[in-house]
Symmetry: C2
Subunit: 601 residues, 2 copies
């Protein structure tokens, strides 16, 4: 059977590291049991294996086409959406009041990980639908909820996020799609949106866009943006679906992520497109960020997932491909060894594993914070929220950047075969490359982390995180095998305080451009330390399990886990030394340099 | 006009940095003048622009097909080969005695750079042919030279390197293709070769494989490998081309580099395949390494070239795409700025430029050493050879690894558009990914550098390189703007000696596996220092030019050059600190870890 995830590792994270079962003590989650969580994961693996993975390559080879104004996608999509609706997968995290099952996000994240690892393009359709439906339940009127949410959760209607415009990608404050007041909370919509994932397709009856637009005469910039529901087809008075004047102008031919169309949409070409306001006027960006923040974490999760699929392909190949001999035994008459015996191949596999499992740990951590926010109150709740806000850009960017390198490393394990379509790794490299771009580029995440999250509320989020690090460093002390890693994390924490302090001093002098010039590099620096923290948490769980005399098979898992942890501390964390040299450097050449110097003609 | 290279930078390297004109003082090169070198470059740019770049995307979209045993390639290939033959481009570096023009390698490298930047797949056909023909002239009999070389240099016959077999990629000592003695230096050949670039196609009349095989009963391993000419069609007694029983079994569908077929070839299925021995029996691997070493440098060159094309696309986009505002001026009523105004975009562009121009500098340096080897003698010649040998793995691996990151960075400059086929950068990312794999993976280059080149002849190559570094550090002293960079290089050199010393001590203890475990990381560490050295050389040339009061346009070029240099010193070189921490770490977890620990099922 093809493997694309380690279910053993998922169980390890859910049960041994994060103790998701403890959530069931809270009334909101009390209809679940830890055993049920396990069953959910197992079902997800079955569905992914039977339905999604088998069409991974076929969806890539037969991307969507636009015919007579209708986007046609792989016929499997219709089946996925029906199956995901019927099986309650889209609804699983929703409150019971909305037809959901109130499954904690930490479990749903594990499920999303499995789906994205099996077939990222396929997984995007239901994920987008769930996010859009959630936004409607959060800010929509009863009428809007009743109209849109049930068919979306049933997988009959697709949901999207419609933010980007041709002239406004990273700079959302410059969107120009306009909403003209009509009657009863209804608006006429005119404008163009681009790169809308699943923005149109024939696998569903309707497509529901959660769209940002400016109400006519709204204030300029971000303060004049509102959120609307703009369906492809609207219900007429007799509750029949009729065209809502949303036209698919084109779809993009992409490097990867080919199973999901990225559409350019034109609204109101016949002056007959209507949208319904969601939430407050001019608060659209803030509302949208509920979905966006979840989407960002899902991007990080999908990055770990695609890298996981690539890793398992590389691992299987490395175990079975004979090539070369140990450097200490060159005799050509002796048998070749499987390439996994070579130190450099083990290094590449450990790199991949450390990125995937470290990144997944961070995302599970974020999901736990989100679940705890729901069941806590006051200062505690606020603390979880701050930590979640702080870690969101890291959870998005670190896996998408390092996951790309991990997928490339998987290709390298295969050698020439990895460059060919005979193995899936070349597709994984193409699929994963979108992750550092969509839902906010890595540059945007860096600015968010340094320019917003670290300074908000007098830096309280950062202070809370340092406490979390201290807590973990302390918890590692009883395990002699972990002491060097704990010390390395303590040193890294010290360096983080030094570097952040130096940068904040620049900000304090009002030099905001200098403060933010290397925000992307600060994000990497910060990310390496955060992932190390997550690895130490996992190391503690593994040492605890080993102390309880597990079976030989289990022991192998825990020892492998510890090797991956040590790998991250000894090969990846040291990168902070180079980054800190750069971040503490007083020069600001990227600010100072006139862009004309790059032009030599 | 589409730009894929900076001709200003090529002139800078040839004339101001390496003074290639001085070569014409040597009799072997004395029919040339510096002005002629300039004309050659200009002609190459014209040919690349008019003939090769226009079919870049089309060759990618219409890859080779295998029909009835014949590989059919894009129809432009036939035109390229004819044009390259007619224009003397394949022959240009050959001695006049073989119909060539004795153009120095440093100039031919610049030409190869231009061709590969315009269309890497297209450039591969003539490059492979030139390399194969050169090998025949070096080791073949007069008869073989007369038979094969003229049609190859004329672009009528394709040349290939046929080394890899399905069971023997990185481990060449395990090849099994067998040569059975026939008569008159002729052998019957039986075996299978795979991943043979341009291994069969209909753009030429014949394909000439420079093939490694074992003569029956030869010693096992590398010491029993011989080199043969094995044509697709051989000449019969009447000098007609007849089949030589070389069958194309299949071609690969690849991530990129799609314009050039990678073929699996079967020799002697009808027991009617003949090959002709080149050079000495059982010395085939050493002979082949003449072509392989040049091919490795060409891989590095092509990496710089593809990254250059991606950079110029990203630069043009960044100059013209308005998006966002300076962080110090957020007012949404003000106009958006071109994204090149953002520090993070400048950082990404400087990263690309510093990799491309630093890498190209190293390759030009290697070419100069090769040219000087030809015209020098004794100790001097030996010194150049040692430096060339030492730097070859770096010139291959550094640009192929960092060039891949540069191409990915070019995509990032485009945002979502970079992920789409509307712009060429997604193809560049796919094309460049092969470079870290073919002609010896990065892992193989690391082993070559640390395990062979640094220790050969009592480490004399390394000592010579350190002297070169000292020389450059001294030469930088008169320029106050370069002193910090010179000091950084001096410090890096010190660190290199420390790290290399520590590793060689491990080797001295006989722990060869520990010595080589992180050879890939040592290669990166070493490469960062070598590229910094090249950047300082370029910085000195730029400072000298600035001191001579150039025109404003010229001043802009030199100031840009210095910014790129400072970028490399301040952002890339510091990575050696993290790498040195790793390389000096006493643990050897990739050696110690039982591979079974990676398996958790």
């Amino acid at each position: 059977m093809t493997r694309f995830v380690s279910t053993r590792n998922i169980r390890f994270l859910i049960t041994e590291v994060f103790d998701a079962g403890a959530l069931t003590a809270h009334p909101y989650y009390d209809r679940h049991t830890p055993k049920m969580f396990d069953m959910v994961i197992d079902e997800a693996v079955t569905l992914a294996t039977q339905l999604m993975y088998p069409v991974l390559a076929d969806m890539d080879r037969h991307p969507p086409v636009l015919e007579n104004g209708q986007v046609k996608v792989h016929r499997a999509v219709k089946k996925f959406m029906a199956e995901f609706g019927k099986g309650g997968w889209i609804a699983s995290g929703f409150p019971e009041a909305h037809g959901g099952e109130q499954i904690p996000l930490v479990i749903r994240s594990a499920v999303s990980f499995v789906f994205a690892a099996s077939n990222y393009s396929a997984a995007a359709y239901p994920e987008l639908t769930a996010g859009a439906a959630e936004l409607i339940t959060s800010f929509g009127s009863r009428h809007l909820i009743d109209t849109y949410v049930p068919p979306m959760l049933a997988g009959r209607w697709q949901g999207t996020m419609a933010l980007t415009e041709p002239q406004a990608g990273s700079s959302l404050s410059d969107i120009t799609t306009t909403a003209f007041q009509d009657a009863g909370g209804r608006f006429k919509i005119k404008g163009v949106k681009t790169f809308i994932s699943a923005g149109d397709h024939d696998g569903v009856e309707n497509v529901v866009h959660l769209m940002l637009a400016r109400i006519e005469n709204a204030p300029p910039g971000a303060k004049g943006i509102s959120l609307f529901v703009v369906p492809k087809k609207r219900l007429d008075d007799k509750r029949n679906l009729v065209s809502n004047d949303v036209t698919t102008a084109s779809i993009y031919h992409k490097l990867g992520y080919r199973g999901t169309p990225a559409a350019e949409l034109s609204m109101g070409e016949k002056d007959n497109c209507f949208g319904w306001l969601i939430g407050e006027e001019n608060k659209g960006l803030a509302h949208m960020f509920q979905m966006m923040n979840e989407a960002r974490i899902l991007v990080g999760l999908a990055s770990c997932a695609i890298a996981s699929a690539a890793y398992h392909a590389a691992l299987e190949y490395a175990e079975n491909r004979p090539q070369g001999r140990p450097v200490t035994r060159k005799d050509p008459l002796t048998e070749q060894v499987p390439i996994i015996a070579h130190a450099d191949v083990k290094r590449m596999l450990l790199f991949q594993r450390s990125v995937i499992e470290g990144g997944l740990g961070l995302i599970m951590q974020c999901a736990m914070y989100a679940d705890l926010i729901r069941v806590s109150a006051g200062k505690e709740k606020e603390g979880y929220q701050l930590l979640l806000d702080l870690l969101t850009p890291v959870a998005k960017a670190f896996p998408s950047e390092y996951g790309f390198l991990a997928a490339s490393s998987a290709i390298q394990c295969f050698g020439g075969y990895g460059y060919c379509e005979d193995f899936p790794v070349e597709q994984y490299l193409r699929d994963i490359r979108i992750q550092a771009i969509h839902e906010g580029t890595t540059g945007i995440q860096g600015m968010d982390l340094l320019g917003r999250k670290l300074v908000m509320k007098n830096g309280r989020a950062g202070i809370l995180l340092l406490k979390e690090l201290d807590h973990t460093i302390q918890a590692a002390q009883p395990f002699s095998g972990l002491v060097p890693a704990a010390q390395a994390l303590a040193d890294a924490k010290q360096l983080l305080e030094t570097v952040a302090g130096a940068l904040l001093k620049i900000a304090g002098q009002g030099k905001i451009d200098a403060f933010l010039a290397d925000a992307t590099l600060f994000l990497e620096f910060f990310g390496l330390i955060v992932i190390s923290w997550q690895w130490l948490i996992q190391g503690i769980a593994a040492e605890k399990a080993l102390a309880a005399s597990p079976s030989r098979k289990e022991e192998r898992f825990y020892r492998g886990k510890l090797y991956a942890m040590h790998y991250f501390f000894r090969y990846e964390l040291p990168k902070i030394h180079g980054l800190s040299v750069r971040l503490m450097d007083g020069d600001h050449l990227t600010l100072d340099m006139d862009p004309a110097y790059l032009t030599d003609y």
